[in-house]
Point group: C2
Chain length 209, copies 2
DNA sequence: AAGACAATCACCCGAAAGAAGTATTTAAAG
DNA sequence: CTTTAAATACTTCTTTCGGGTGATTGTCTT
């Protein structure tokens, strides 16, 4: 019989226990093997360089940089890298950003391990896999306009408790312009006021507290 | 030589991979054994009734109820239960509530597994263990006055994007009273306005989005 | 070149929010 | 039985916010 080489996996997560769980799961599968672990974005890039895993499982929030940034760093160097996000539920914007940046899959830590194995195999075979829970969350806000970079800056400043006048000073624009930005933000997010806008922005992963 | 009975552990977390990691870690220790797992608060209570574990590891956010509520439910029935919170970082208020409600320890998922084992042994021996990272976070807001239940209700309503008038209607009080509550909230949280109050409330674990 | 969009600024106006003070009622704590 | 704390309510005053309308500039796309 012909022996197929095992799928070599890299796990990136700042929770040792989670990595341990992934390692146990992976190494119990005959056709998979865990080749490395990383607890931060930098470690992830180094680990990828060193081991060239077939599939990388990447958490979204890491101590040094976001998982998306870490993924982009890897993809710049290895465009054919197969990376799957594995995270607790985040807003639809995070999901979208991850997929646009080149993630081959998006898994939730609450999913059954069998789904995880399934997606790893599919991604290794060159496919993309987005589970229905994630896809439907994504579809929820399909038509919605995205905030511009400037609007996100303003929203962050609002979330920090700044008045319009303070935001104007910090961004070197007039208070009137700030108001226009906030008006657009509230329209795009369907928010009733600035506080609601911040809450929605956080829920959807547009900003972080 | 006398054989000491192993420490029997129950793990409560809605992430299967995390539970798997805990199980692997525990079962690799000669003096510990994993007797059950639970993915929700209800399962946790049932699992405790059935197995009477020596130490219970409990996540803070579960699908059906908060980990603190689940812990309180268990403690009502078994006051001598030894429960340790094991979670990602939450606000100081969550930590305080957990400890006041009877948690014997508070661990972060980002800590090294050896710390976890250490705390389990200490708690099993009847001690309480709060790691320094957690303790210092707790000390940060030691002098601060806590929000009253009513104030938390109002803050939740603010976070939902309600105007003062709407809050007044929903809580069956006058708009003036709502203003007084919000003034007190902002003073206690050192917030510059209602939006800041919501942001701080979320960061400190007083409310959730 | 035309059109679309993002970012900028201005002026007006009414609605809301926030600051400060006073006061009553009830409930808990001493 | 006081004292304290929480929740309630009202008045006055100032500041801030948010809606509407309109305009300019630069960039990018078609």
């Amino acid at each position: 019989m012909s022996k197929v080489p095992a799928i070599r996996v890299l796990s990136v997560d700042d929770h040792p226990l989670l990595r341990e769980g992934v390692a146990t799961l992976i190494n119990n599968e005959p056709d998979m093997t865990m080749v490395a672990e990383a607890a931060s974005g930098l470690e992830a890039v180094q680990g990828f360089r060193e081991h060239k895993p077939d599939v990388t499982l990447m958490d979204l929030r890491l101590p040094d940089m976001s998982g998306i940034d870490a993924m982009m760093a890897i993809l710049r160097e290895f465009p054919e890298a197969r990376i799957v996000m594995l995270t607790t539920f985040e807003g639809d914007v995070e999901i979208q950003r991850a997929l646009e940046a080149g993630a081959r899959g998006y898994l939730l830590k609450s999913m059954p391990p069998s789904d995880l194995l399934d997606v790893i195999r599919q991604v290794h075979a060159g496919k993309k896999r987005i589970p229905p829970e994630v896809a439907s969350q994504l579809a929820e806000h399909m038509g919605d306009e995205l905030l511009t970079q400037r609007e996100i800056e303003v929203l962050r400043a609002v979330a920090d408790g700044n008045r319009n006048r303070d935001i104007a000073e910090k961004l070197f624009i007039s208070e009137e312009t700030v108001k226009v930005h906030i008006k657009h933000i509230m329209e795009k997010l369907h928010a009733s006021d600035r506080t609601d806008a911040v809450a929605i922005g956080v829920r959807r992963g547009i900003i972080h507290l």
